[in-house]
Every structure is written in C-alpha cells, then in structure tokens.
C-alpha cells in the first residue's frame, strides 16, 4: 500500500509542474493586459509603464515563472495583481466553500445514487423504471432552472433555506449545513442518475455470475452476499465514477456558485481570468491540481482495498 502511495506521489510532482507551467504560459500569451485593465483606456504611456513595472510584467516570462516556483517552495503563491492581497489568503477564504460543495455533492449523490441503483438491481421491475425516470430527469433538468424552482419553494415560499450565500461552519454549523442544502441538491441531481444506473448495471452483472448462486446454495447470509461479494465486486466501476465526478465538480460548480452567490474557487477563477490576474489563476490551478492528485490517490487506494490484485500489479 505504501508503495502505491509513494509511486503516485512521485508521479504527481512532474504533473504538478507541467500543469502549472502550461497554465502560466498559456495565460501569459492570451490577449489582454492587466495594466490596461487596471488603468482603463485613458492612460499615459508613463502610467502604463509604471504599472507594468509595479506588476513585474517587464521581466522575462521564464524569470517570472521561476520566481513563482521559488515562492511556492516557501508556501507563497504571490499576491493578487489588483489588491495586493496574498493569494494564499484569498484561496483559503474560498476553498472551504468549494470543498463543502464538492464533498457534500459527492456524499449525497453517492448515497442516494448507489442506494437507488442497488434497490433497482435487487428489486428490478417497477423500481428500475423509477430509477431510469429519475436518471433521465436529472440529466434533462438544467441546473439553473432546478435552482430557481428550489429557491422559489424552499427559500421564498417556505423560508426554510437561504436563497444565496455561504456560512462558515466555524460561525454556525447549522447555518453552514442549511446554506449547502440547495446547491448540493442542484449539483447532485444529474450525478445521482449516473451513479444509480452505473450501480444497477454493475450489481446486475455480479448477480448473474455463478459464484453468487453458489454462495446462496451454500447458505451464505443475504447480508454477507450483498456486502462482501456483490457490492465489493461491483464497487470498482462505481468508485471510478465517483472519483471522476469529484474531479468534474471542481470546475463544474461555477454556475451554481453564481446562482447561489457562493464565494467558491470556480467563481474566483472566472473573475481572475476576466481581470488577467495571473497569480490568482495560478493559485486556483495549483489548488485544483493538488486536490485532483489527492483524489486520484484515494481512488487508487480504494481500488487496492477492493481488489487485492491491484496491489500486486
């Protein structure tokens, strides 16, 4: 197991380097000039030059990237071009929102999706039809529309849940939970369908295998068959989908962040891109890359736990 962890981390370092370098150079070459964004259209050449020097934009690109890498080693991601606020502080003030959304959505969609898929596979018939219908609905309903409907019912109509905003769990755990319910439901809707169908198909495939019949004939308890054999064998494709879902959600929360006015990393990335605030963009990419690496590592560990042959390989 430690070998797997060590190997994955070793592979991740070049990946981190590659992704941040690619982002740095791509953003640097895109049209737009932060000095112009700061100064507006009416500025003198002297003002323009002064701002570029202040921002360090007169340095060669490689030097700037080298400086950035050097700072990272010291835990410093630089400062925002626009307000000189440390990037780490800005990101840390928002990463909790994104992680709450993504983890919450993954948890809810996994519990509900796997539950529905399992029930559908085991009971089949009418329940399977319902699962299909729910899946289709989840796919078909645009998330912004679903958000509007949920807000109209639960926020404006019933006054049960907030329509916008986020509360830090340290301020009020209860309000934190309430602020997440609607965004998480909206994000979960399409994923639940995917996971339910994935789970049903995987379980059905396992159920058809001869060893299940053998176990039943041998008198193994239904719980043992379900948890030790069916779910464990069906889990790998499900874990794969969950992992991919998690990673997809990192960049997929922007619309929901906008609709619910949540201060997450997705919205921050959009703002920073429109302002050409490279340190912020780099910081977001760095955080996302690290999170993706960690998630992939966890998925690999899950594979190894579920299937001993993976450990050997």
């Amino acid at each position: 197991m430690f070998k797997i962890i060590g190997y994955r981390l070793l592979v991740s370092l070049p990946l981190l380097f590659f992704v941040t370098a690619l982002t740095f150079f791509l953003v640097s070459f895109t049209p737009g000039d932060p000095a112009v964004v700061i100064l507006g259209q009416n500025h003198t050449p002297e003002e323009y030059q002064r701002v570029r020097e202040q921002l360090g934009l007169t340095q060669p690109l490689l030097v700037r990237y080298g400086d950035w890498l050097g700072d990272i080693v010291q835990g410093n991601l630089g400062t925002s071009i626009f307000n000189q606020e440390p990037v780490v502080a800005i990101l840390n003030s928002r990463v909790g929102v994104t992680l709450s959304l993504v983890l919450g959505t993954t948890l809810v969609s996994t519990l509900v999706g796997v539950g529905l898929g399992l029930a559908s596979a085991l009971r089949r018939g009418f329940l399977a039809t319902i699962v299909d219908t729910v899946s289709l609905l989840g796919f078909a309903l645009p998330n912004f529309w679903l958000a509007l409907v949920l807000v109209a019912i639960f926020s404006i109509g019933l006054h049960w849940l907030p329509a916008i905003g986020y509360v830090d769990p340290a301020t009020s755990p209860g309000d934190w939970l309430r602020s997440l319910v609607l965004p998480v439901l909206v994000l979960s809707a399409p994923i639940i369908g995917v996971l339910a169908q994935q789970t049903r198909n995987a379980v059905l495939e396992v159920l058809d295998r001869p060893f299940i019949q053998t176990l039943r004939a041998g008198g193994a308890s239904p719980a043992s068959i379900l948890f030790r054999h069916i779910l464990r064998n069906a889990a790998i494709p499900i874990v794969t989908v969950v992992g991919l879902t998690f990673v997809g959600l990192l960049s997929g929360t922007v619309i929901v962040e906008t609709v619910f006015a949540l201060p997450g990393l997705g919205g921050l990335a959009v703002q920073a891109t429109s302002r050409h605030d490279l340190p912020i963009i780099q910081g977001v990419v760095f955080y996302f890359t690290v999170i993706v690496i960690v998630v992939n590592l966890l998925v690999d560990l899950a594979y190894a736990w579920l299937n001993p042959r993976v450990r050997v390989a």
Partner: protein
C-alpha cells in the same frame, strides 16, 4: 436482509431531504451572508464596467484643466450632522453587482463609493437639493479669485477608527499620498498645506471651481484615511481606517464576495449609526439578488437590473431611482471624413427628427424610459427641460432637411454597436427609422467593452451607440464627453463656438453656473452632436422593512448611511 439494506438506503435518502426542511424562518435566520451592491456611478458616461472609470477620469481631467478666474467665495455652513438616537437595526444586507479591486480610497472610483462611504466620512457632502453641506469640513472658502486654493476648516474632536486624531496634519498626509501614488483623485492637485491644527488648504495646479464636489462621497477624493495608512497605504488595501461610522470586519469579509462592516467605536456621531452590521454582498446574477430580497436575506439591491423590477414590485418590494443615462447615438464623424453627409448639421438634425422617440421609449430600456432630445438630465447645471422635446418625430421635416442638405436620395453609414446594455436592439430600431428616410444603415456590433471602446477612437465609424447621460456639472461632462479628443468626441478638431462657452463656464462660480451651462446644452442639442433617444433611471429595489433609500438628482446612488429600519 437485502430488504433492510434497501430500507436503510431509503432512510438515508429521506434524511438528506429532511435536511432541506428543517430550517427556520428566513427573516430571523439570514445565515447566508447578507449583501449589498455598489451603486454603479455608471451608465453616465460609458457602457458597462468602464462607467465608473470614465466618471472618475472626467473628474480628474476637469480638476486638471478647468479654467480660472472668479470671485472669491466663502461658504460656511453651521449645521452639524447629528440625528436623534434611534434603536439600531441588526443587519442591513445590500446586494451589489460590483466589487472594488482594492479598498484603498486612492485607487477607487465612484463605482466603489458604497464601500468607501461606510468607512470614510468625506470632507463635504451634498444635501437632497444638491447644495454643499459640511461633514468632516465644517466650513470652506476659496482663497483668492482664481479657484486654485480652497481652505477647509476641519471638524474638531474626531478620531479615526484606529483611535488616532483627525486633524489638518492627517488630511495633508493623505492628500500627499494621493499625489505621491498618482491616485484617482490626484490629477490637478498641487499640494495640501496644514495652516493650523484644524485648517488645511488644498492647492490646485489650475483653477477649478468644482473642487468642492470632488470632496463629497461621490468622488472619493475627500475620503481621508488615518495617519498610519498615510505612512503605509497597503494597510487600507484590504482593511479600512477612516472617520466613517463603520469599519471593515476583515474576519467576516471574503474578497470580491462579502464585505462586512461593523460600527466604528470611535465615531464622532454615534447617533448616526443605525445598524449593528452592514454587509455588502456581491450578487452578480440579478435573479439571485431578487430571490434573496424576496426571501428576506437582503434588504436592498443597489442597483437593480430593470429585468427584475416588475417582479420585485409585484412581490411587494419598493422602488427608487433617478435618471442617470441617455441611450442614443453619437455622431463621431461630424467632420464628414467617413460619412460626408454627417458634416452638415441639417443631416444630423434630420436623423434626429426621423426617430419616434415616444414609441422607442416604451419598448426599450425595459419600457421605463423617457423620450429625450438632449444628453443633459436633471441634476446637471446644464439641464434645460425645454430642450427635452427639441426633436419631435417628423418624417416630412427630416426628408426636407436631407433635401436641403443635398442628400435627398439618402446615403449609407455604419453604426458602431455592442450587444450589452441593449445597444444592439437600439441600433436596429434606429436603423429601421433611418431606412424610412433613405439612409441605409449597417450595424457593426463589437462583442466586448474593450473592442467597442477601441472602435470609438479608431476613426473608422461615423456613428456609435452611446450611453451618456449628463447629471454631473457641465464642466465635468465636457471634459469626459464633449471636449475634442475625449471618449465620446474623438475628433481633435477644436470647436471655437463651444470652447468660448466653456471658458466662460470655467470662470464662473459653480453656484452661478446654470445659465452658462445651459448654453452648452443648447449648442450641442441644436448642432445635433448626438441622437438622444430615451433617458433611463438607475433603480434601487428595497424591502419595506427599511427606509431612507433616497437617490437624488445630484447623487444617483443613495447614501447607505441614511438607510434606517422602517418604523
């Protein structure tokens, strides 16, 4: 067992749904950070995000270039700004659409005014009628008759939020910072001089009778930060340190999303603090802002998108607003270099007469517009109501003017347009009216603000859509929008007739400027520099649970400090 597992999963599902239903009344909960949106100083001069900058630029430019000479004016107002103590509200949350790049007053523009007003009492202020009133300066007068030196008597016994003393040395230090950092209010500033413990003189490079207006909250320049910030301006880039009633609570603030302000314990006039907390919450989506208002999470949307106004009013919300913008077109090529016909004023007048502004004002701008024939609006010293209907819809007259000018068969032109702020719709509507008098129009729509602004100064277009409403003093408007080489008049060719009026205006005290400013309006309207179509308002939608949302012609953005819990 399988059935039990299935039941367990069902319970989990129900539990997750139950979480949804276990909240409390939103009016008491409001957990999710309340909000406020900055009153965009906006559409006054330019489209979208550039508005605030344009306004600031206009101010700064005026400070630099406005003319000289005039009589010495002494203004002393004895009024003190105290109000009777009233129970404070708990939290005022305002949904705002924009956020400041920095909280440093030297880097801010009128667009960010709400973020500054809460923490910085400006040196002067306007009353509801547009008259100057004391705030941090209790009296002020011009020294000499050239409008180059203004002397301010400062309010005594005032402390900054960090406990340091507000005095002439502090004011001078902050003006020095503005000068040194080339801040937004520094253009035209020569120096500041402390001539007494509570007396300071501001010296300008060139005379500018409008200097007092730049010391109000509208223009940020009069927002003075504490001596510690003057020594290290970085202190106020993510925090506040002023003499205002509130100060930023950094721990409850998320940059570009939520700005939380709490009462300043050192505030000189505690009775003017009406809330235990004020939150400016950035909500970019107008529908989300309306939902939050209806749910009771926010109490004010500032400003409100016209798309949600009707729904808001239907839901029982209140509406306030003043005219701030004129949607229309700008004849960029009055010299006829690109479209020769436009050199003749009769042609430009014909293109004005050809448009049914009454009809368009009912369908454009959310149907809430007012047909106009001038760029000047109430609030400007140049506003003249008699010019509002100068160009009434008259196709026959339009055709006759074209014939008189030698263009009876019409001509072709291209309109520089853009998809934002409804500009393309306006262009298409105008084009159809011009088609009726034989003028064939092509619309070139630029997808971004930057491309549009580049097009304005490119010299390639004869006509452009314009969102320009003059509510500021005419000298400011002139520098931003009418002066040769300015944003909305890119031609650098001098206009002697207008220049003569402007020079007269610049030598006139601001309180006496009306008659001269109206001559500017008359000249531009008669010469048909623009095709004004409809005037639109800047709207503010708010909850009946608050009062005091009172935008004025002088200050389109209502003063947040006047908002109180409804009785």
């Amino acid at each position: 067992m399988v059935r039990k597992v299935a039941k367990f999963m069902l319970v989990l599902l129900l539990a997750s749904l139950t979480l949804t239903a276990c909240g409390s009344d939103a009016t008491t909960a409001t957990p999710v950070v309340p909000t406020t949106a900055p009153a965009q100083a906006s559409p006054t001069t330019a489209p979208a995000a550039t508005t605030g900058n344009a306004a600031t630029t206009a101010a700064a430019t005026t400070a630099a270039s406005a003319a000289t000479t005039a009589a010495s004016v002494a203004t002393t107002v004895a009024a003190t700004t105290t109000s009777a103590a009233a129970p404070r509200g708990q939290t005022l949350t305002i949904a705002v659409a924009a956020y400041p790049a920095s909280l440093d007053p030297t880097k801010n523009t009128p667009t960010e005014e709400p973020y500054m007003t809460l923490a910085y009492d400006s040196l002067l202020q306007f009353d509801a009628d547009g008259n100057y009133q004391p705030l941090m300066a209790t009296a002020w007068k011009w020294i000499g008759n050239d409008f180059k030196t203004l002397e301010l008597q400062l309010r005594p016994n005032v402390k900054f939020s960090d406990g340091s003393t507000f005095d002439a040395a502090a004011v001078k230090a902050w003006f020095d910072v503005q000068k040194k950092t080339n801040g937004s209010g520094s253009t035209g500033l020569d120096s500041a001089e402390a001539t007494g413990p509570l007396t300071v003189q501001i010296h300008l490079v060139q005379g500018n009778p409008l200097l007092p207006s730049f010391l109000t909250r509208n223009w940020i320049t009069g927002d003075i930060a504490c001596p510690a910030a003057a020594a290290n301006p970085a202190l106020v880039s993510t925090a506040t340190c002023g003499t205002g009633p509130y100060m930023l609570d950094a721990k409850s603030t998320v940059t570009a999303d939520t700005y939380t302000y709490v009462p300043n314990p050192n505030y000189w006039n505690p009775n003017a603090i009406h809330w235990n907390k004020i939150v400016l919450k950035v909500v970019a989506n107008p529908q989300a802002a309306l939902d939050a208002l209806k749910a009771g999470q926010v109490q004010l949307i500032a400003p409100a998108d016209t798309a949600v106004i009707d729904a808001g009013q239907t839901a029982g919300m209140k509406l306030a607003g003043v005219e701030l913008n004129v949607q229309g077109l700008d004849f960029l090529d009055r010299e006829g270099k690109i479209v020769p016909a436009l050199k003749d004023a009769r042609v430009r007048q014909a293109l004005n007469y050809a448009i049914d502004k009454d009809a368009l004002s009912k369908v454009l701008g959310g149907g809430k517009g007012r047909p106009v024939s001038t760029q000047f609006l109430p609030g400007s010293d140049g506003y003249d109501a008699t010019l509002d209907s100068y160009y009434n819809y008259d196709v026959a007259k339009a055709k006759q003017l074209l014939t008189d000018a030698g263009f009876a068969n019409g001509f072709e032109l291209t309109i520089l347009s853009a998809p934002f702020l409804g500009f393309d719709t306006l262009s298409q509507a105008v084009a159809s009216y011009w088609q009726a008098i034989g003028v064939k129009t092509t619309i070139d729509s630029k997808p971004s603000v930057a491309e549009f602004l580049t097009g304005l100064s490119s010299g390639k277009y004869g006509v452009a859509v314009a969102g320009l409403g003059a509510t500021t003093p005419t000298l400011i408007t002139y520098n931003c929008c009418f002066k040769p080489g300015s944003a909305w008049n890119p031609s650098k060719t001098p206009v002697p007739d207008l220049q003569a009026i402007i020079e007269k205006l610049a030598a006139t005290d601001a309180t006496q400027a009306g008659p001269v400013a109206k001559q500017v309006n008359k000249y531009i309207t008669e010469q048909a520099w623009f095709v004004p179509v409809l005037a639109t308002k800047l709207y503010f939608l708010y909850s009946p649970k608050i009062s005091g949302v009172t935008p004025t012609a002088t200050e389109a953005s209502p003063n947040i400090l006047n908002i109180v819990p409804a009785q």
